[in-house]
Amino acid sequence: MQMVKMDPREDIGGRLTLIARQQHKDELIRPLLNTSKQYLLVCGALALIAGWGIYAWILQLSQGLGVTAMGTPVGATWGVYIVNFIFFACMAHGGMAVSAAVHLLKAEKLKPIGRMGEVLTIVTLAMAGFSIIIDMGRPDRIFNMIRYWPERVGTSPLTWDITVIMVYFVLSASYLWLTMRRDLVRHADRFDLRGRLYKLLLIGYQPGEEKKIDRLAWWLSIAIIFLIVALSGGVIPWIFGLLPSQPGWFSSLAGPYFLTAAMASSIAAVMLVAGILRKGYRWQEVIKPDVFRTLGAVLGLITAFYMYLTFAEQLTMNFAAPRPEVVVSELVLSGELSPLYWVTMVAGFGIPSLVLILQTIRPAWFNVTRTVVLSGVIIAAFWAKRFLIVVPSLLRPLLPFPFGTYNPTWAEWSIIAGTFALAVLLYMLFIKVFPIVEGHEK
C-alpha cells in the first residue's frame, strides 16, 4: 500500500497547532476582546475619585495654597504633593528597568510583563509631572520653566530635574510605541475603531522593520538604564542632598539612597500590576510563577539593603552630628512622627523583605499571592518613607523659627487620592485599547 505524503499544515495535528496558536493569540489580548461589569464598575469608581480630586484642585487653584496645611516660615513648605512627586518619579524606573533587562540580558521569562512595566513608567511619570504642577503656587506660570530654562539650568537642581524627566518621558514613550508596533500590525485588522488607531500609529511601517526595532530596543535599553541612574540616583536626590540649609537632607548618601528606593518601589509596582492582571485576566499560563519568584527575590534583597542605608543615615545623624541633625532624627525616631516611622520600617520593610528572602532560600514556601500582597505593602511603605524624608527636615529648620507641625488637609488628601485614581484609571484604559502583553511569536 502506498503512503500518501500529506502537507503537515493540513493534518489534524497541524490544524490543532494553528487553533492552539490562535487561542494563545486571543489569550494575550483578552482585555481587548471582553469587558466585564467589574471592569466598568472599577473604572467608574476611579473616575469619581479622580473627579473629586480635580474638584479639590480647582478649589486650591481659586483659593490658593491656603487650603493646604503647608506653611511658611513655620511648618512644611513641601508636603504630600512633593512626596507624591518623588514616589511617582521613582516608581517610573522599575518598569523600564524590567523591559531593558528583557532586551539587554535576554531575560525572556520577564518578557510577558515587559510592556506592563513600560506603561507603568509612562503613567507614573505623567503623574509625577502633574504632582509638581499641583504643588506650584502659580501653575499658570508653568511655561516659565521653558522660557527661563537657559538662565536657570546653571544653578537650579529643579531645572535639571525637569530636563531629565522630559528626556526620560520622551524616550520611554517612543520606546513603548515602537516596540508595540509588531503587535499593532498583528491585530490591526481584527478591530474596527482600535484598528484605525493602530494603523495611524503604524505610520512609516515597513514589513521587516522588526530587526531594526530590536536593535532600537537594545540601544534604548542602555540609554534608559543610564537615565534611571541619572534621575533616581542623581537629579531627584540632589534636590535634597545638595541643600546644607536643611538638616536631614544634606548628605552624599542621598543618591544611592534614592536609587535603591526607586528600584525597590518600582519593582514592587510592576509585580503588583502583573499580579492583578494575571488574576483578573486568568493569565496564569502567560505570567508564570517564576516571574514573581525572581522579582520577589530581587525586591527582598533591595528592600533589605534600603533598610541598611536607613540605619547608616540615622547612625550618622545621631553619633556625632551637629545638633540640628539630631533634632530631626529625634522627631522621626522618638517624636511625633515615630509611630509612622516604626510601622513603616518594621511592618512595611522589615517583615516583607524577611519573608521574601526566606521564600527565596526555601522555594517550597513560595506563594504568588503572598508575594504580590507583600509588594503592595512595600509600595505603601515607600510612600510613607518619602513623607518621612521630605517633611521632618522642614518642621525642624536650621533657622531660629519655632518648631512646626504638618497635618495634611482634606483638600490635600483628596488631590493625592485623585492622582492615584487617575493613574490606575489611565492604566486600565490603556489595557482596553492596546495589547498589554507582548506577543511571543516572531
Binding site: 487653584l61 501653575p139 499658570d140 530636563t163 520622551v170 512609516g204 522593520e209 534604548l220 543610564f226 537615565l227
Partner: protein
C-alpha cells in the same frame, strides 16, 4: 556652571547612544526616521501642552 556640566553629562551619552542606534545595522529602514520624528513630536507636544495648560489655568487662578 555646574548645571550645564551635569546636563551635558546626562544628555550627551543619551545622544551618543541614539546616534549609535541610527548608524547601527540594518541600514535600510525607516525606523530611525520614525523614532527621531516621535522624539521631536513628543518634545514639541510637551512644550505646547505646558503653554496651553498655563494659559488655561490663568483663567482659574485667582
Amino acid at each position: 556652571m555646574i548645571g550645564l556640566f551635569i546636563i551635558t553629562l546626562i544628555v550627551a551619552p543619551v545622544a551618543a547612544i541614539i546616534l549609535a542606534f541610527v548608524l547601527d545595522k540594518p541600514h535600510k529602514s525607516r525606523v530611525p526616521g520614525v523614532f527621531l520624528g516621535s522624539v521631536v513630536v513628543l518634545f514639541g507636544g510637551m512644550i505646547a501642552l505646558m503653554a496651553l495648560l498655563g494659559t488655561a489655568l490663568s483663567f482659574i487662578v485667582g
